[in-house]
């Protein structure tokens, strides 16, 4: 039979009645509180008994203090004289117990109790919640603000909508927490002025809300991972699947550093400095190490992918083609190239997938290299086509040394029609000043392609040959 039990604590720091009642109920079931961690409380088995618990607050208490402050010691002395034994402390909350049913309550003046609680809440609870609220509001506004200013950027990855929702949840929870506290304080003041005691808190409702918020956070994280997996971004899903437990580990290790330094009786400032240092070092080592692995092993966005390479003319070339590209320069020119280098980047969300293909080739005899670059956007949300085209087709005024203006001019889509309704419904060509560049934007209802060629492949001012158009449409049309 287990003698120790841990419980995830969702009680509220100023809900002294809730804490007292909870601990008395646990003692009646045979579990006595031994240690109150930030979130995890440790209970030890004992004979079931009617134990009275009472809490008071000491604003000077800190988890970084090597030992109880003089004030805490005085308080413990007074409590001991009144028959109360110190159990442990939880932030500024000092928890005492007694089995004497006649012991004088710890607090006999409600005005003082309320003042004392507020003094203690101003120490950690309120500043921490305000900081988290500001962070949550800033992050969620920055995320959802993008939705109105540049909707395309909002949907170009799953991270933005999900992190926006997550930070919004955090901000809402913080707003509720702060309103709840100040509302409770106002009600308590009124009740005390009318000769009563501090207002009761609906402990179970508060705990339910905390658990719901936690469950929602876990659900959002799971949905995010699922969205990445469904979007084919298994590398990104793997990254965050490792990141989340590493983050939890980081929090635990940082907390344990504080506990260890306290056990070693390190002065308060040494404990704070050590905790901060460990936080930085571990964050760098764990999260930085993970990011390094992800980049090194190509978890993100495809990249170069793995494969043998060789050097030729001071450039790295692929020993064998790494990725299957839907369209290659060889497809367009019909030539065989001796040296090929490819890289692919991907990003996207549930609503929009973007792939960026790049290929550089060099003929066997080492003549001039040429390249092709094209980006494909697949839209699950057809409404995104308009902002995407606005973004892509925006006229750009040149600045020195490139003083020409970049603009896109609509072409007749019929010239790109290959029959069988496979051709794009709109085509735009890029103009660099008054010169037509070999760059096109091809538009289908749920796909947009940005195709960039070089003048070696399509001479400046000319259009692709019909055979090349056939190849491009066959390779890049939706469903190809």
């Amino acid at each position: 039979m287990k003698d120790v039990k841990y419980r995830w604590n969702t009680l509220c720091l100023y809900d002294y009645r809730g804490v007292e009642e909870h601990l008395s109920a646990m003692a009646a079931q045979g579990w006595r509180l031994e240690r109150a961690g930030n979130s995890l409380w440790k209970y030890r088995r004992a004979d079931p008994a009617q134990v009275r618990y009472a809490v008071t607050y000491s604003a000077g208490a800190s988890q970084f203090n090597p030992a109880p402050t003089e004030g805490q010691e005085s308080l413990e002395e007074l409590c001991a004289a009144a028959g109360w034994e110190k159990v442990c402390d939880w932030f500024q909350m000092q928890i005492f117990s007694t089995e004497d049913p006649a012991a004088v309550p710890l607090e006999t003046d409600e005005t003082l109790r309320l003042e004392n609680i507020h003094r203690s809440m101003r120490k950690n609870f309120l500043p921490a919640n305000v900081i988290i609220l500001i962070l949550g509001l800033f992050m969620s506004c920055s995320s959802f603000g993008t939705l109105f200013v540049r909707p395309l950027r909002f949907f170009e990855s799953n991270a933005r909508p999900f992190s926006g929702a997550l930070f919004m949840l955090v901000a809402l929870l913080e707003i509720y927490t702060l309103f709840h506290y100040y509302g409770w304080r106002r009600k308590s003041r009124r009740a005390i002025e009318d000769g009563g005691s501090c207002a009761p808190i609906r402990t179970r409702a508060y705990q339910r809300l905390n658990r719901t918020a936690l469950a929602l956070t876990a659900l959002l994280c799971a949905l995010y991972l699922l969205a990445e997996l469904l979007g084919g971004e298994s590398g990104l899903a793997l990254f965050y699947a490792v990141y989340i437990p590493l983050f939890v580990l980081l929090v635990v290790l940082v907390r344990q550093t504080t506990v260890l330094m306290r056990r070693l009786k390190a002065p308060k400032w040494v404990n704070m400095a050590a905790t901060l240092a460990v936080d930085f070092i571990l964050a760098f080592a764990l999260i930085g190490g993970l990011a390094f692995c992800a980049i090194r092993y190509g978890w993100f966005f495809g990249g170069r992918g793995a494969g043998e390479t060789y050097l030729y003319q001071n450039m790295e070339w692929d020993a064998a083609p790494r990725q299957d590209f839907p369209l290659t320069l060889a497809d367009l020119t019909g030539e065989e190239y001796g040296h090929v280098r490819r890289w692919l980047s991907r990003q996207g969300s549930f609503f929009l997938q973007e792939r960026n293909y790049n290929e550089m080739v060099l003929p066997q005899d080492g003549r001039r290299a040429s390249s092709i670059q094209y980006r494909i956007w697949d839209l699950r949300l057809p409404r995104l086509r308009e902002p995407l085209l606005d973004d892509l087709l925006e006229t750009q005024r040149g600045s020195e040394p490139y003083s020409f203006t970049i603009s896109y001019v609509a072409e007749d889509p019929l010239s790109w029609d290959v029959g069988g309704s496979q051709g794009p419904e709109a085509v735009y060509r890029r103009w660099n000043g008054n010169k037509a560049a070999p760059i096109w934007v091809l538009v289908w209802p749920d796909r947009v392609v940005f195709l960039g060629l070089e003048s070696q492949t399509i001479p400046l001012g000319e259009s692709p040959a019909q055979e090349q158009i056939n190849t491009i449409i066959r390779c890049l049309r939706p469903g190809a």
């Binding site: 008071t56 308080l75 002395e77 009144a82 004088v104 710890l106 003082l112 109790r113």
Partner: protein, 107 residues
């Protein structure tokens, strides 16, 4: 509007200051208040600790000795003046009561 601190004294405040006319420690204060009031006024240790701290900050009492965890206190001149002012206020209340109701209605 919030009452200015210590302008008027609550019962626990009054009895703590009254007890500290003689030097004593916190636990003695609890015992003496209980004895003085025949158990009518209970002084919780949390409340006592906070009041002692507040009185010290307001320079109405001063710490006189520290023996381990035990701390002794004594009222200051400012504390005595506050206590006297409270006594005068209570007397005024009593006189007003007598004026309005008379001595006979005390049963």
């Amino acid at each position: 509007m919030a009452r200015e601190k210590f302008q008027t004294l609550t019962e626990p405040m009054f009895y703590i200051l009254l007890t500290l006319r003689e030097e004593c420690c916190g636990t003695d204060v609890m015992a003496r208040v209980s004895a003085l009031t025949h158990g009518r006024v209970d002084l919780g240790p949390g409340t006592l600790y906070n009041l002692l701290d507040s009185f010290q900050q307001a320079e109405m009492i001063r710490e006189t000795a520290v023996e381990g965890r035990k701390r002794s206190y004594l009222i200051t001149d400012k504390g005595r003046e506050t206590l006297r002012a409270e006594y005068r206020r209570l007397l005024a209340l009593t006189e007003d009561y007598k004026t309005c109701v008379g001595e006979e209605d005390l049963s």
